[in-house]
């Protein structure tokens, strides 16, 4: 079994109103000098394989087909 973590983040240039709101909230809590907050998603997965190359290939396909919307999002894959 292979454990993996997929991280999906917004592409540069795509506005992130949720990130902006979080930035504002941190400011109001007194955390100053915090900029460019971008909210993303993390997926932790377990795969029934020991073939790391295949796992990576499958995860890439999962990202392209469902986990990320590649119009607005980038993704990165880490095998743990």
């Amino acid at each position: 079994m292979i454990k993996a973590r997929v991280t999906v983040t917004l592409k540069n240039g795509v506005l992130d109103p949720q990130g902006k709101a979080i930035e504002g909230a941190l400011g109001s809590l007194g955390f100053e000098g915090v900029h460019q907050i971008r909210q993303g998603k993390v997926f932790d997965l377990e795969l029934d394989t020991s073939d790391r190359a295949k796992a990576e290939e499958d995860l890439k396909a999962m990202c392209e087909k469902l986990l990320a919307n590649t119009v607005i999002e980038n993704y990165s894959i880490a095998l743990l």
């Binding site: 795509v14 506005l15 109103p17 949720q18 709101a21 087909k65 469902l66 986990l67 919307n69 119009v71 607005i72």
Partner: protein, 223 residues
């Protein structure tokens, strides 16, 4: 003309859409469940609004990968008209049948109100009942209607008249790019829009401004 309404778990505007299509075309649409792989012979397929699959992952993301979408894609390629309203629009962009993406409203709030729409292109299969530049009223109800598309794609879309509706008179409820409220695909037979025209088609609704979209698509424009 015959029509079909797609039904998926979590869509809740299907009844309103069925009522609107029945009222305007004079015949009830057929309903198509998400697992169906074939769609009956119709002239117009409508994906109504709601919250398919609870908006999990991204609005419309899971619905866009259901078997029925492959059938809709094939029909659209044959030239059958497809209309996606609200969640239906989100599903069409997630399915890659329309360019762009729909993101969280910039206000971060769910908006439920009436807006003004400008008919930017009155020469589509869905807007022939309107005049070019006409301003119509239309209700909206959504949390993720903030349309985004890459600058290069947007330019190409504008050149081809693919931007069909814009929010007018400062009524943009969601921060969408260039006030975009509705777009068609390159071929012009797939329209996605955030506002709900099915909720403004008879006097009891307080107006009939939304009627023209169905009258155009169903080819029943009053002479």
């Amino acid at each position: 003309m015959k029509s079909a309404v797609v039904q998926l778990p979590g869509l809740n505007r299907d009844r309103d859409m069925i009522a609107a299509l029945t009222r305007i075309s004079g015949q009830a649409p057929v309903t198509v469940w998400q697992t169906e792989t074939e769609i009956p012979d119709v002239d117009l397929i409508v994906i109504p609004g709601g919250f398919s699959y609870g908006d999990y992952l991204r609005c419309g993301a899971i619905a866009a990968r259901m078997p029925v979408m492959q059938a809709i894609r094939e029909k659209a390629a044959q030239g059958v008209k497809v209309l996606g309203v609200c969640n239906g629009f989100q599903i069409l962009v997630e399915a890659g049948m329309l360019p762009g993406a729909l993101m969280r409203n910039t206000s971060l709030k769910f908006v439920c109100r009436e807006v003004k729409l400008e008919v930017v292109n009155a020469e589509t299969d869905f807007t022939r009942a309107y005049a070019q530049g006409q301003i119509i009223r239309c209700p909206v109800a959504h949390h993720d209607g903030n349309y985004f598309v890459e600058a290069e794609t947007l330019k190409a879309m504008e050149d081809k008249g693919q931007v069909v509706f814009r929010y007018a008179e400062g009524t943009n409820p969601n921060g969408s790019m260039m006030d975009i409220a509705g777009v068609v695909n390159d071929a012009g037979n797939v329209l996605g829009m955030m506002p709900h025209p099915e909720n403004l088609i008879e006097a009891a609704h307080g107006g009939t401004d939304g009627r023209g979209i169905f009258a155009s698509a169903l080819d029943v424009i009053a002479a």
